[in-house]
């Protein structure tokens, strides 16, 4: 075992999961992807993987919802319908969709499926704070939803300044900073320290030594949540990275589930699912 100091790692090392440390995955996808082959693209395979890893809840946005607007989120609706005890979806906001009013109505009509918002500024060509998204943010703020942003350091569409503008505009929704403004680690930590409703998320942070160490040196583990990008990256790789990074087991629990519980417990759907 690569970290003899961690009692918690013994569970994951021996069993691939921990009864005392379930996982909430705040950043996942689904469906095949144009750019890469991935084995776990169906809801069935992803949920089986979740069960192997002790992931109690995954909030996802399917590749089809992100890149095939013509499907009108049908595959995400179907997946959550099949696995309501394990899955919920972020509603994908895409400024390219012609009929935004119908999109908004769909979001509002299915609170059993869509528990948050997601957008990808760099991919869609719309800034996080583009006015087309304002009605969605207003709704999310009213309902205190999580909003997962794809972020990347230096990006004019979803970089630090766009995240900060959104945090200044809205105080009730929870901003999940996907990829933690990859590369601008200290700025990401500053955002988490400055705004109570901003949390950093770890997908693509796990590819080298250093970034998570910087984040933990600048902000509390209580402001960091876990994500996998499933079906892209393996849950166990992320878990292994957390146990290689110097921190306490309590920090790891914060990241893997305690912060998620704190963020989501205000919602009846979560309390029913978690309890």
């Amino acid at each position: 075992m690569f970290n003899a100091h961690s009692e918690l790692l013994k569970d994951f090392w021996e069993h691939g999961r921990s009864a005392r440390c379930p996982i909430i995955d705040f950043h996942a996808h689904m469906n095949p992807h144009v750019g890469s082959f991935m084995p776990l693209v169906t809801a069935e395979k992803m949920v089986a993987k979740m069960q192997r890893c002790g992931t109690r809840l995954t909030i996802f946005s399917g590749h089809d919802a992100m890149f095939v607007p013509a499907f009108h989120h049908a595959h995400d609706l179907e997946a959550v319908g099949k696995f309501p005890q394990q899955l919920r979806a972020y509603f994908v906001m895409n400024g390219s969709v012609p009929d935004q009013q119908s999109e908004l109505e769909l979001l509002k009509s299915r609170p059993d499926v869509f528990v948050g918002l997601k957008t990808l500024g760099d991919y869609f060509g719309y800034r996080v704070n583009d006015p087309v998204y304002t009605p969605y943010y207003d709704y999310a703020d009213e309902h205190e939803m999580p909003v997962l942003l794809h972020t990347w350091g230096g990006s004019p569409y979803n970089g630090v300044s766009e995240v900060e503008k959104l945090a200044q505009r809205y105080r009730r929704l929870t901003i999940i900073v996907g990829h933690s403004c990859h590369g601008e680690w200290e700025e990401a930590a500053r955002l988490a320290n400055t705004y109570a409703n901003v949390y950093l998320e770890l997908t693509a942070v796990f590819d080298e030594v250093g970034p998570l160490e910087i984040l933990l040196s600048k902000c509390s583990s209580e402001k960091i949540v876990f994500g996998t990008d499933l079906p892209w990256f393996d849950t166990m790789h992320g878990v292994g990275y957390l146990f290689s990074t110097p921190m306490t087991d309590r920090d790891r629990e914060n990241i893997l589930f305690r912060n998620g519980v704190r963020i989501l417990k205000k919602h009846e759907w979560f309390r029913q699912l978690w309890n």
């Binding site: 690569f2 084995p39 776990l40 080298e208 292994g240």
Partner: protein, 250 residues
């Protein structure tokens, strides 16, 4: 489970890095013991930043009395006579516990082409010396051209990024029977399981990429892959033991 790491880096880089540096062999050995890694193939940061001959000799000096460590040398084309000559290479490698070669053609200012490196490729094919090819430094097209001419080369591939690489990697594994994938940059969810199911168990090597990456991610990937204990152990150490056992230094 025993781990034989196919890719460990140490030494002092000459450019800014985020990771804490493991400066010398003693510090590296302490770390590997802490991680529970029994053996490792290692190379120094200086083999990328400095003249290959200078840095290769630094590594050789480090490995002299470290039986759990094996080294890679960075190669140049032989035409400028800057490093160990081909007729002396095998003996020098055996003497210095060197088990393979790596290439940085752009950084070292040469062309990765069979006409340029044919002396080395012929030697590698004949003596089953592994080539450690990192697609961050050697292009996939260039390697395909070389393997078309030397299809029995023993090659250890490292994908260039963490994004799922199967559409690039699997054709190499399928077309060339002595190509392998080391897993330090392979994070694909259940990707190891899928590769084993496709018959590539003997072609996968546990690898961390430490000191640039953490050892725990790839270790957990192998340990928790749903492939059975025997297959896990093959990937963790057995396949690399077999490859090194096939090297013929004479």
């Amino acid at each position: 489970m025993n781990f034989f790491d196919a890719n460990v880096i140490y030494g002092i880089p000459s450019q800014k890095r985020l990771y804490p540096v493991i400066p010398d062999r003693a510090a590296l050995q302490r770390k590997l013991k802490e991680f529970g890694i029994q053996k490792a193939i290692v190379h120094r940061e200086e083999q990328f930043f400095a003249h290959p001959h200078t840095a290769n000799q630094m590594l050789a000096e480090d490995l002299r009395d470290a039986p759990e460590l094996f080294g890679l040398w960075t190669l140049l084309p032989p035409h400028c006579h800057e490093m160990t000559e081909p007729e002396d290479m095998l003996a020098e490698m055996r003497k210095n516990r060197i088990v393979g070669w790596q290439f940085f053609p752009q950084q070292n200012g040469y062309i990765f082409h069979w006409r340029v490196l044919k002396v080395w490729f012929e030697m590698a094919e004949k003596h089953r010396l592994p080539l450690f090819i990192n697609f961050s430094f050697v292009t996939e097209h260039d390697l395909l051209d070389v393997l078309d001419r030397y299809p029995n080369l023993t090659v250890i591939l490292r994908n260039a990024s963490v994004w799922p690489p199967d559409r690039v990697i699997r054709p190499f594994l399928t077309e060339f029977p002595r190509t392998h994938l080391e897993l330090s940059n392979y994070l694909t969810a259940d990707g190891v399981d899928a590769l084993v199911a496709c018959g590539y168990r003997d072609r996968l090597l546990y690898s961390s990429g430490f000191q640039t990456a953490h050892v725990g991610g790839p270790m957990m990937l192998v340990k928790q892959a749903a492939i059975g204990d025997v297959d896990q152990q093959q990937i963790a150490a057995g396949n690399l033991e077999r490859i090194l056992g096939e090297i013929n230094y004479v």
